[in-house]
Structure formats: C-alpha cells, structure tokens
Symmetry: D2
C-alpha cells in the first residue's frame, strides 16, 4: 500500500495569486513528512445553498489558473465538474476530475468524465449507502477508465447533519478502487445557517485521524489562510498554518495503520 | 383552496401507443371525481442505479410523443429535465418541468428551467430539510418565474430507506408555493435491490391518504398497467386499474381536509 | 371497527383538584362528538432529562387521586409504570398500564404488567422498527393477557429529533393488536432544550390528522390548561380549550377513514 | 493520560468454569502488551429481543461466580444492573456497575447505582445525542459518586441499524469523565434477525481502531471461544483466540494517539 496522499486546497479558486500562495503553503506543510498532495480548487460552486452566495471565477479563468499552478508547482491538480461539457476542457487543465456528491448518480456526467481518461474522484452521495457506490464506479468503468477513487463525505443523519460511518470505508474498498475520506465536508452542517451551510471545523482532524486508522488511500481536507473569511466552506476548513502539524500527525497514524 | 390535483403517468415513456393507452385509462379513473390530472412521463432516466438498466426513448422522440398526447387529450403534461440544454425544448412540449430531487441544488438547472416560464415542480432532495426548500424556490423565483411547486418525495433515513416527515408539508407551504406529495418515490427503497431500487407499493396509498389529510395541492402517483414489468419504478407504482378507487377515496379526504 | 378513542390528560398529575378540573374539561370537549376517552396522568416522571426537574406526586398519592377521578367521572384511567413492583398497585387504581418507550424491551416489566390482567399500552421505543413490536407484544401475551395496545411515539431521526413513519401504523396493526398514535410525544425534541425536552406543539394536530387518515384505534394527546407552565411536556401539549375543535375534526377524519 | 484499558468478557455468564476459562484466555491475551482489563459478564439479559431467548443464570448464582472470578484472577469485574434492588448486591461482587443503554435515563436506577459508591459505566442510549449524556452523568454525580464512565455503543440510524458518530467521543469527554467505546454493540443490528439481534463482527476491530485513534480511556469488546454458539451477541463478538493480535494492534494506536 502507498503512503497517505492528500487532496487539499482552498475550496473555491479566488485568484491566481491566492492559489499560488495556498499551493506554496501547502507544499511547505507537506514537505517534512514527504506527503504527496493533489491541489484542489473549484472554479464554480454550482450548487450553493442560496442564489445570493458567490459561485466563483467560472470555467475559462479557473482552468487557466489551475493549469498555471500545475506548471509552477508540478503537483497534480483536481477540480470538480458539474456538467458533461466541462469534462473535456477540465481534463486538459487538471489531473483529477471530481464528481460532486449530489451528482454521483448522473449517468451522463459519469460517462463524460470517464471518457476523458482523467482520474475520477467520485463523492458518495449523502443519500447513498457505501455498498451502492459499486454501481457508480461501474458506470465510470464502462468507459474503459479504471482510474477511479471513491470518496466518503458523510451520510444524511436527520436534518442539517451528516454522520461519518467508518464501516463505509472498508465496504467501498471491496470494489478494489482506492478510498478517500473527505474530512472537510463530513463535518458540514448542510443548510445549517439558513442561506449557507455551517460546519464543525474542530471535528475535521478527529474524523481524519479515525479514517486514517481505519485505512484510506487519501484524505481530502480543505484549507484556507483565513477560513472565517473564505467565500465558501469557511466553517469547516482548517487554517493553513495548522496543516503541517495535522499532516505530520496523520502520517504517523497512516504508517502505523499500513505497517509502513 | 383548489381541489386536489393529480400528477400521474407511467414513470418512463415507453411508446406513443403506451402513453396514449395510459392517458386514456387515467382520464377514465379521474373522470368520476372530476379530478384534474397532469400527465407525467420521463423520456430519459438519467440517474438510474446501474449503467445496465434502461434509460428511455431520449429527448427528441420523447418530447414528440408528449406533445402529441397533450394535443390528443388536452391535459397538461409534465416531464423531468436533467440538463440546462433540455429545458427550452422540453418547455415547448410540456407544461410543467420537473427538477429531480438529486438535482434540486443545481443552480444552473433551476435557472434554466425557471427562465422558460413553464411551471416548475421541484422535488425536495432526500438530503434536504423541508425548510431548506425556501432557498431552492428563491433560485427559481430569481428568474421572475413564480410558478413553482415544491414536492416531497421522502428523506434519507438510514441506508436504502426513505421516511416521509409530514411536518414537512406545512413547513414547505410557508413559502407560499403549492406543495405536492410524491407517494410513489416516498416508498422507494433506493438501491435496495442491488442494481435497482426496491419499493413498497402497499404503502403508497397509506402515505397519500396521510398527505391529503394534512393538506396538499397535488399528489404525485405513478401508475402502470403492469407494474411488475415496467421498465422503472415497478416496485412502487400503482396498477392503473386500481387508480379510480384510490382517487375517489383520496378526493373524499381532500374535501374534508379543505372543507370543500 | 370502533370509532376513534382518545387517551388524554395532563401528562403529569399535579393535584386532585387539577386532575378533576382537567377531567371535566376533557369530558366537555369529548361530549359533542361522543368520543370515548381514557384519562391519562403520570404520578412519577421517572426518566426526566435532568435530575433537577420535577418528578411528580409519587405512587401512593398519585394512585389515590387517579382512583378518585375514576370514581367521580366513570372514565377509564391510564398511568405509566416504571418498575415491576408498581404494576400490581397501579392496576388496582387504573384500567390501563402504560409501558414507557425507553422500557419497552424490559422483559420483567412487560411480564409484571401483563400479569395484572390490566390492559397494556406499550409505546414503541424510539430505537425500534415497527416490525420489532411483535416480539414486545409476545412478551406480554406470554402471560395470557391479550389486552395489548401498541403505540407509536416517533422514531429517532438524527439528534434531538423524532420522525413519525406512518408506514409503521399498518405494520404494527398486522400483529392484530389495536394501534395508538401518540401525537404529543411524536413532536417532542428530546433533550432539545439542554436540561429539558423541547417540542413542536403546532405539528401535533397535523400528525394526528395523518394518523387518523391512515387508520388508528386511538390517539394519545396530552393537554393542559396552560401548557407553557406545565411541569412537563409543556412545549408539545395542546391547550385544553382547543381540544373540542381538534377532536371534532379528528372524528370527522376517523369516520371517513373507517367508513362509519 | 492512562494507557487504554479493556472491558471484556463473554457477554453472558454461562458457568463458573466457562467464566474461569474466558478470564484465563483474556489474561493471556492482555499480558504481552500489559493491558489492564475489567472482566465483564452479565448474569441476566433482561431486555432480549424475544421472550424465547435465554436470559442467564440469575443474580444469586451470577454474583457468586463473579466474586469468585475476582478472587481467583485479581481483576476488576463489571456487570450490568437492570433494577434498583440489584445495585447494592451487585456492588458487593463487582467493581463497576454498568447501566444499559435503554435504561440510561431511568433516574432511580442511576441514583441507586451511584449510591453504592462503585464505579459506574453508563451506556449512551441509542436515542440520545452525545451532549445529552452530561445530564445523565449529573444524575449519578448528584449522589456524590464521581466514578463515572460514559460509553458510546452506537446511535439509531434508520431501522435495525446503528451508526458510530466519532464526534461523540470528544463531545462526551468534555464532561470530564472518561469515555469508553463499545465496539461490540456498535456493530449490532438490533432486531435484525427477527427474534434476535444481528451483528457485523468484521467491523468491530475497524471501529475500535477508529475510536482509539480519536482517543478513549477504554474499549468495551465482548469475546467468546465460539461466538456462533454463544447464548447472546454471537454475531458481534470477537473469537477469543483473535484477541491478543487485536489488543496488540489497538495498544499501538493508543500509544500513538496519547503520545505514550
């Protein structure tokens, strides 16, 4: 088994300068432990709680920035896609296409993403059981693309709350595809603040540690230099200056978990 | 308040002949009680559990059939849309565009649907609280289109199970928009049969009666002449020859509920 | 089928005078529709959220008052029992022993209650599926006592919230025992106010109407002349001066539902 | 922080010989890692799913055996109590009284247990939020007994299923009392086999590992030499010959988690 990888970045792409600054800080946080990271940023938040919240830079500007960051830092890049027509251009700019949880059953999107040949990180819908993800993976695999990651980001538990069922990680791993745990969105409180989602940032490291102890290929953790002023997911992002300590600790658990 | 309306039809559009036969039987079932119905059929099941299940006739053939049925029967028509580009053509052929539950947070789809000026029936995501639907309606209303219906089709409750929380109907009604209860998909067992969803048909009339007693503008009930051989949603559809008795009974509850 | 019966009263027994006043007002509210009622009051709230909330008058004083109310009003009486040793004395004073939801799996309590020969109203645990109540009923029936009622008071749904699954009423009815719907505790928010439980009084009539439309033998609705100052369950009790209108409306639905 | 302790034993007390054999095997499994264990066995399964399943040896014989095992092995003993009158005699024979999850809100039982001065391990009800356990602990502490442990054994999640929310462990730890994770009952499927509860033994070590990574004072893991023939909880108990490897692994995670 490979050491833990990290999918990390600032949720929403804000500007080239901001992305570069975040990538630098992340690279610094990962270097001591030698942790490989995939830089994640969204150019369009297409499913915000409310019409009045910020959606982002849009595809053209967003993908341009992402491909520049890839050049400058040499790190693999991930972004999420919300429609079939975005898959091919996004796959030019980034290495991993991410299927949002709400869209994980949309056959056309899964096929369009799969057909690019890019790696696909598909989030488990909050409304799906872990064992239902086999059918989701098969839709992608039907394109001949087996570069699939299955990502848990919590399951609906009553209203405005998610719960992380850690039985789901080994259950999804039975598909043979690498499993990712999204510690950021698992502590989201969907719709919990009226027109935006709330979050419980203090539990992200707790659940991340549990996931690594259970055993995962990668963790997804969003970060920001000032989460309380971030344009999205602020309540559940980790301040970037806390990332190095967090990564070091998670890597220690990963080594123990995998016998590395 | 208006008497109960019915959104009904055979889940998936199978052929012009089949749709005509179903529309005839439905018209007969509704006539004795004078119940207005909106004919519902899908031309594309874009989010099936598994890649190997039937998706339907496709948009062009589907919309042609739907507009013919509308001409022949003079009844309003409803179909569901899964991408922005389908909204305008679908709005030519039908009167009501339906936003699927999984897609109820996709801003672009809501806006594209709203901009057609058609009536919009938006299903509450299984992952959303009833009070979160206000934000969803506002996205549509931001286009200037206020012809919005909010539809409950169950909420995630553990794995492979939905529950109908009838507090949600008056909660959604506080938005001022008419509320619909989907008795067919509320008894679905998502993913419950491995590669297809299961269902508990026997509970659809039970929940429909409860919803009408609580008070709704419309019920959504799918029907088929042979549910066990229907291409989708068979386990939760009502046999069409049982529809008249069911409608008559529901209308009696509606009259009592609304004091008509 | 018999017309709807009502289990009603002031949650906690406060004094002989208060119980008499409540019984009078309830009798007045039930008279116009000819609704039979069972007077319910608890002499000991043995499972309050917090140690610092009021528990009640205790068994001796409580049972004395209950038996006097029975004499004065000639109505059947119900109280809840929390330990084996209380069953026999309680069965002297009242007609129906109620098993609290948290205790519905305690074999000794079920047997002790059953052995009194009194009717038993057993609440479905918030942690149980409706079909699990068959085993609970069998424990009681093993004493030779078949006078059993199964009562739904909501099911755990996330934290501090209950949901009423109306599929549970016909499911429990398959046991052959009469089914009761508890509209008061189904809208409880357990632990939702820190050291006491909250509630959503406005939804009690909504869920009651749904239950009657589905079909139940009896409704359980607590009432008080001043719910906001009641010693327990205030947030979900119905003001007693609203009971007549509520009962009249529920009886109309019951007649329609049962074809009476 | 102290190293991880283990609460372990054969769910149901079967005989003196069986208990002695189990204690020997457990002592052997714990010795290499120097893990302290508390021997757990129940003399009465008072809340079985069905009336026709075995309840155990009863209090007199049970407590006699438990006190003999304590003498022979010198290990602390734990048993669960279901009524006030059992607390004092049980506290003579064992060191820790356990309050079952269904009974965690029964004030009299909590007080009677607290008044013995024994340590109390109180299980979080499947129907309670983690933050609701503060009120439960306060009931016990009102007796002057502060030797309280709070134990998570899963939370209701749909029907016949529990989920372990690992945010609950640090939430309960905020009370200041040591927190225990029950890996055996957290993988129970309550009522899942008709007249008995099912279980998912394969996930007990998974969840145990997650809990230790998050950080707990103790783990509760039931074990048996032949789980499939055990009189209760067979589907979720760990075979005793697998305990040493499991304990060794968990201790490694505990050391990392606590920096020992």
């Amino acid at each position: 088994q490979d050491p833990l990888a990290l999918i990390t970045g600032p949720c929403q792409l804000e500007s080239h300068d901001h992305a570069r600054m975040m990538a630098e800080k992340i690279a610094e946080a990962c270097a001591p432990s030698g942790t490989r990271f995939i830089f994640k940023a969204s150019y369009d938040k297409a499913n915000r709680s409310s019409i009045s919240t910020q959606r982002g830079l849009g595809m053209d500007e967003g993908l341009t920035i992402l491909s520049k960051i890839r050049e400058e830092f040499g790190c693999p890049m991930l972004t999420d896609v919300h429609s079939e027509s975005h898959c091919a251009p996004a796959a030019e700019a980034v290495d991993v296409l991410q299927i949002p949880a709400f869209l994980c059953r949309q056959t056309d999107l899964l096929l369009a993403a799969g057909e690019t040949g890019a790696a696909i990180n598909v989030k488990k819908g909050q409304f799906l059981a872990p064992w239902d993800m086999g059918n989701v993976a098969e839709k992608i695999a039907s394109t001949g693309n087996q570069r699939i990651m299955l990502c848990d980001r919590g399951t609906s538990f009553g209203y405005n709350t998610l719960v992380s069922d850690f039985r789901g990680l080994p259950t999804m791993a039975k598909t043979g595809y690498p499993v990712v745990f999204d510690a950021t969105h698992s502590v989201q409180q969907p719709g919990g603040q009226g027109t935006t989602s709330g979050g419980q940032r203090e539990f992200a490291p707790v659940l991340a540690r549990a996931a690594v102890a259970v055993g995962v290929a990668a963790l997804f953790i969003e970060t920001h230099e000032d989460p309380d002023d971030a344009p999205s997911d602020g309540p559940n992002m980790i301040p970037v200056d806390q990332m190095r300590a967090l990564i070091d600790r998670l890597v220690a658990f990963d080594r123990l978990s995998k016998g590395l």
